[in-house]
Symmetry: C2
Subunit: 575 residues, 2 copies
């Protein structure tokens, strides 16, 4: 797999008042589309394309793209969805890539039960508060009540860590690096959006324990880099690595790192995956202690990290277009469709033979190809059919092409068409084209995103950028530092630190509240654009070198603090 | 992967009054073993071996083997277990093998929600009756009651088939072959036995739809053969392919095929995996219809098939010995352990260098090897440690061996030891040994099992064989025939067929009741052997050619029926 360029987010120095698409609707809970009643059994009417434009009604567009392409289906239990074969295939590809890489890091897969008792769930107070309203409870089996209600895992810290306490005795048992690929349940009552926010979803959760902070910290960033690579090298989606602010970090973590993706159509950011350093917060509660080399008993340092099927939603939102799905080649179940252009009242036998030969050659050499030689469908119908489903490359061969010894190729991502001599149409050639498609999808998405990152030093600049559907960098005072081990602080130092944390949280709360209020004052037509709601921090990007110097710049909203900013923080509206 | 010999179960003509191990306890719900309190942090006491013999207290032996080998752990919610890394690795290997093969058959993976509404669950009446007492219900989220209780899947027929009805319109949409790897929940109140019977377990469930019976039937047996290959080629466990009797078939199926494994120690059979033909029973209820080539609307024929983590329990029970786990080489996370025999007060540097070289060479060439060069442990301690964990092959090198240019090898399965010149110790050589170990584990298990299959023509022979801990073949009248499509029978034919089915069911009920009663009359000492409880049918073996001719033999218990037997049916006590 070729490396994607690692170039990060350069930004223009001034707020970009970027002309943006009007009439982008806010993402709403998409209703399950009505079943196509009375559609002919022969499937002639099943080829309905997407009938709204992405820029005009994003929410409806999304629903149509994922359902009409046979990717996902709605289900009777609201907030739960069916992953159809081409969809689950994408997830399998994500799994293969990430799982292969963590195994190289010495991570082993395990499986813990999905059930958790109330007592265990409530062991770490901050943590459970983050989840408790969304926890689903099993209370009956058959017709009998259970003695005690049992929760379905919203995440597995409290399920796994009692075992960690049991298994870890000595420094020789460390590091312990475990991962599981599971379903989790968060019974949310916010708008469900397929992939992005659902009641049951699939993910991996890694949970590791180390004897010191340094090792734990290293892993946090190793995993974050793998997450970035997964998005960029597999899903062709550019992401920004950063650290969460204190207000947005994982409940119970010392610090949270994140990769953030961007949906240009509605100007929203998406938290794409997170890698947390939990410090000793959980090891203290769950008594995960080890005998160190110096025979002293110590608490382990822990990380947890997760990547979910949300990634599939991001991929679709970023790449899809008015014709439907656009799948990155590395995750497409069908990478290439070969369509022979049969003519009525003509002898198509030579064309048929040649098509089958090409198909067989490419398939044998590892190209995931389909031959669409259905006689009852027109070529035009087939083009739409496969475009809707996002197949990256189409090969057409007509009788004229055959005479000239060429085939026509057409890229799904940009519509580019060109002809290729048949003898050049090898698996190697096709794979090179597929790689090219991958890279240009990624670079195009990166370019679009980069144009939509603004810098703001004042509230007015901030709101203008935000209402232009942009992500906004603001001067920020980040309290947490990677080279400080929170557990090592003296009581006094910790108090001082916590006071600063509170200040940081208040600054964010202020921005959230004020942006929400000012958004609410937008006219009706504006509120129809999806550009309403509070802005929140997405992350403090790790690579600050690509941004302008903070110079003598004041901290954003100087009324909040008299401390100097030390970082640019990225804010925006988000999913 | 080398093919395992396909040889089936030959049996002796007479009842074998096989001397059997006494004092085999009945499998009980094993309590979670007490935590090893006060074990030294340095782990010096963690190397406790299994302290009961497999033949003397099978249930306790099983609990110790799976927990002390760090394979599985108990969990706070009873009937749920933790799959530790070496355990989950076995399941990953099973998944890789089976998943690869079904993909070649054109099966695609999907993911349906784990939640199912009461209404959908109850659509197929026979089916839900089979599961309803074990269904776990979610009734609350956070502090709120749900409008309607929602069940956790015990299996997914009723979750998936409403979608099948929606997706399948035309014969062009068939066959539809989908599979998912999921967790399922059956809140049983019977004794939980890790892997064998638990409240949450992992499996794959395949669900396919065909336009005719013939195609469906072919798939049923293709999958059954893959199940057999998975057990034999991956887990080194021999199984018998057969068809379930009417009393034991899957609720809602026209017929069920099965592979049956055998645990010699307690004489119990285990249903190892099943492949069902559902006929049109579900398609009728869920209205899964298609327009056939002749434009007529028809119901699809369906199959469902599942293989679960029960397979891991069977593997352990069959292969384990008094020293602990014995892992088949293809599923062992660690296939080989290399132990350099360091001597105190001696220069071990040459030995160290050589060991590291051998380790690196084997590892680079794909052998899953560990180098145990811990200085604080003795070789003897290490032997026990790795034997308990079932590592298939041990390589030892001492200073003397080094002088002679050899290493000692020792097989876990049979204790065989031999020396090998170091230059011969290549990955190829080691892999050949590992294959040999696999094959001899399989053949040994097959031989043991074959000696424990008896033939009985009378009740007395039956009970004698049963109480010798054997599986028993009896003359049986099988009603179902593969070449009869039940859906094609006229009303009258169907009535006649159903009457025969009832007769077959009654015969089985009689055997069950009577064997239960007579078992209960066994003396206390006998009831302590695990050889109590009803016998039930395991299957009617597919390959009858290896058994004696039925000749003029009467049907078993002639008081039940005057029909002639047409098959040998395999009965036994089972899990």
């Amino acid at each position: 797999m070729s490396d994607s360029p690692q170039q990060e987010t350069p930004v223009a120095e001034t707020v970009q008042k970027q002309p943006r698409e009007k009439k982008v609707k806010p993402p709403k809970e998409p209703k399950a589309p009505k079943q196509q009643q009375g559609s002919s059994a022969a499937g002639n009417k099943q080829n309905e394309g997407v009938d709204v434009k992405k820029a005009e009604n994003f929410s409806e567009w999304y629903t149509q793209v994922i359902t009409k392409s046979d990717f996902l289906d709605y289900y009777e239990v609201s907030g739960c969805y069916i992953f159809r074969p081409n969809c689950f295939y994408v997830w399998e590809k994500v799994q293969n890539f990430f799982d292969g890489h963590i195994k190289k890091l010495g991570v082993q897969n395990v499986m813990f039960p999905m059930f958790v008792t109330k007592r265990a769930l409530e062991t770490e107070k901050d943590h459970v508060e983050g989840f408790s309203p969304e926890v689903a409870w099993v209370t009956k089996s058959g017709n009998s009540d259970l003695d005690e209600p049992i929760a379905l895992r919203p995440t597995s810290e409290t399920i796994m860590y009692p075992s960690y306490a049991k298994w870890i005795k000595s420094h020789r048992d460390l590091p312990l690096k475990l991962n599981q690929w599971t379903n989790v349940v968060r019974w949310e009552f916010k708008h469900a959006v397929p992939f992005i926010r659902s009641r049951e979803f699939y993910w991996q959760e890694g949970h590791s324990a180390f004897k010191n902070f340094e090792q734990a910290k290293t892993e946090v960033y190793d995993i974050l880099e793998l997450y970035k690579r997964t998005y960029e090298e597999i899903l062709a989606v550019p992401v920004i690595k950063g650290k969460k602010t204190e207000a947005e970090k994982f409940a119970g973590a010392d610090f949270t790192t994140t990769i953030e993706a961007f949906i240009p159509t509605n100007g929203r950011a998406v938290q794409a995956a997170t890698s947390h350093h939990l410090g000793q917060n959980f090891s203290r509660m769950f008594k995960i202690e080890f005998e160190a080399e110096d025979k002293k008993s110590k608490l382990v340092y822990q990380n947890s990290w997760g990547l979910s099927t949300r990634s599939l939603g991001v991929m679709i939102m970023v790449h899809g277009d008015d014709k439907g799905m656009v799948l990155p080649p590395r995750v497409a179940f069908t990478q290439v469709v070969l369509i022979p252009l049969y003519f009525k009242n003509k002898d198509n036998s030579e064309l048929e033979t040649k098509s089958k030969t090409i198909f067989a050659q490419l398939e044998e050499n590892g190209v995931r190809i389909k031959l669409d030689d259905r006689l009852e469908k027109t070529p035009g119908w087939k083009y739409n059919y496969w475009e809707l489903r996002g197949v990256p490359l189409r090969i057409e061969i007509g009788p004229k092409d055959l005479e000239n010894g060429v085939a026509m190729l057409c890229r799904r991502d940009n519509g580019e068409k060109w002809s290729v001599p048949l003898e050049q149409l090898t698996a190697q050639y096709v794979n090179e084209i597929l790689d090219k498609i991958h890279n240009s999808m990624l670079e195009k998405a990166r370019e679009v995103r980069n144009q939509r990152i603004s810098v703001a030093r004042t509230w007015e600049e901030f709101m203008t950028a935000l209402n232009a559907g942009n992500l906004v960098l603001i001067p920020w005072r980040q309290t947490h530092k990677d080279d400080v081990v929170l557990e090592d602080l003296s009581e006094e130092e910790r108090k001082e630190y916590d006071a600063k944390i509170e200040e940081e949280k208040k600054a964010e709360e202020y921005i959230k509240e004020r942006s929400k209020k000012e958004s609410a004052m937008l006219s009706d037509s504006d509120s129809n654009t999806g550009l309403t709601g509070a802005a929140k921090s997405l992350c403090v990007p790790l690579d600050q070198s690509i941004y302008p110097s903070l110079g003598d710049c004041e901290v954003f909203c100087p009324e909040l603090s008299d401390r100097k900013p030390n970082k640019w923080a990225l804010f925006g509206r988000s999913y």
